[in-house]
Symmetry: C2
Subunit: 315 residues, 2 copies
């Protein structure tokens, strides 16, 4: 019995209906030709705030009691969860307190403030993020909405693959990136319920392969220094995501760092979609043949599109 029941994902889906975008699904004959399968891309880069994180943030906010809403929510995040929680909270007039490391992307900090959240900067270590967040929680009396270990959030993230399967029908394989594991956990619970024969594979960057190593070791590894271009995937698994993935996931593949940007660029050029490096981690194995998908129908979740064009020296 998994820690997350299908019914919680179904409830989250109802909660976000009309509040989150039902994002488009795209195909590319170029990519199909290259990998030999039929690939359906769920475009969460086109989700509100530019990533799937809005799903879990919104489903959690919607389900809060009146009393909890009045006290507000808090979290620590370097980017996508911060923006998502800030906007979801704003739309329901819930105060939001976000702790962000001081080396966060300036635009993400600005966007989070722009949604009306109160932002506290902290030192860029996971310990200081947690310590600062705890202090903010105590001071404000707000409720923690953890970016990837909160079961309500995980349930919300599981709604993306529901929409995907609704449109495509049965798939042989679903690929999603894994960082903290919230998206992958929600995805595997939902996908295996809706399409029992489907395989679900997590794609993890080589520079932060803690999920792969944790599942191999059979215990949660959190003590590591991530060195990956995929800035959305630097966080370790949480206890809940570790437990869910241990039980249900078919495989984690570790994607070499040098294959991430070429895959990102391929999607920009060929599909005309701006995706961030974290999204490309689930595309690269199709382009390089690391996962053999010949003759298969594959779903891929393009998780987000929040890149800093300045850092990419554009324009």
């Amino acid at each position: 019995m998994s820690r997350l029941a299908w019914e919680e994902i179904a409830a989250a889906r109802e909660a976000i209906e009309g509040r989150a975008h039902e994002t488009p699904i795209m195909t590319s004959s170029t990519i199909d030709g290259r990998c030999g399968g039929r690939v359906f891309f769920k475009c969460e880069n086109l989700q509100r705030t530019g990533s799937f994180k809005f799903r879990g943030a919104m489903s959690t906010i919607v389900a809060l009691t009146e009393e909890a809403r009045s006290r507000g929510v808090y979290a620590h995040s370097s980017g996508n969860h911060a923006q998502a929680l800030a906007l979801a909270a704003k739309l329901h007039r819930v105060p939001a307190y976000l702790v962000m490391p001081e080396d966060s992307n300036r635009r993400k900090v600005e966007a989070t403030k722009g949604y009306g959240a109160q932002v506290t900067l902290c030192r860029p270590t996971y310990e200081d993020r947690r310590a600062t967040a705890e202090r903010v929680g105590v001071e404000t009396g707000a409720q923690l909405v953890h970016s990837h270990n909160d079961l309500r959030v995980i349930a919300g993230q599981g709604t993306a693959v529901c929409e995907l399967l609704d449109e495509t029908g049965d798939l042989d394989l679903v690929l999603a990136p894994v960082g903290g594991g919230g998206l992958l956990s929600g995805t595997v619970v939902a996908a295996k319920h809706l399409c029992p024969g489907v395989r679900v594979i997590g794609c993890e960057p080589a520079g932060a392969d803690d999920a792969y190593r944790s599942l191999q070791a059979g215990e949660l590894i959190t003590d590591f220094t991530p060195e990956t271009i995929a800035d959305g995937l630097r966080t370790p698994l949480g206890e809940n995501t570790f437990a869910i993935l241990s039980e249900l996931i078919d495989e984690i593949v570790v994607v070499p760092e040098e294959e991430i940007l070429p895959a990102m660029r391929f999607v920009w050029e060929r599909m005309k979609l701006v995706i961030e490096p974290s999204s490309a981690v689930a595309v690269a194995p199709l382009l390089t043949g690391q996962i053999d998908v010949t003759g298969l129908r594959i779903g891929v979740i393009l998780t987000g599109g929040n890149v800093d064009l300045d850092e990419l020296r554009l324009g």
Copy 2:
């Protein structure tokens, strides 16, 4: 009586059904908030070959006689029309001969060859393009499919706004970029038929404002040297597009060059869509307030997404 009848656009729409993508329509609350209207973006950057040009190329190829198909088609083009005609021809096993200026984007030349077309390079002047194309036409006996002055092509380009209006219902205003005027001409004929009260405005870059000046002068101006970042809009109007626009278009606005790249970047960052500078010419006036759209429902055709990421110094 316009040179192009609505019935020809309706026929083109039937011809491309199932052959061209019915591209998605996107909205952005950020852009709505900024311009004060409700904007619907028709995403032709997500069309096959990366631009709306595939519509006109495909509708023209489909309508060829067997005999014409066997002899093939030719055209001169620096990019998007070349790729579009090459793929449409390939899909119907029609030989395609493309004349491309030697300073064309390398990737566009490669893509055109990749679709099996025979490419002849020429000097980068409009005269040499035409002269070389004429020679290719004589040598091969193929049929000319002009990129923007061919009425069959113009009819095909008009199908994009049909799909847009089908989904949005009546609009107050439609914006499209103008270069050779094929898209704008097809758009104005289709839009005024389907939605008689709609205003249609062409958006032209300041560095190639021949359409604006031609309509002002009441005669076709073709003798000018374009100097615009919007590389898809450097060609002059043709006789047919000049006649159609003279009769039907409500207005041409001239967009300052320095506003084009910021608008492009805005769409990349906020909408996560890769568009080329030519597309951004129809977005900029919404962001700068050059066109007042307060309280209006506006359709914008995002014409293409074929940018060279190398030139933009990305990654």
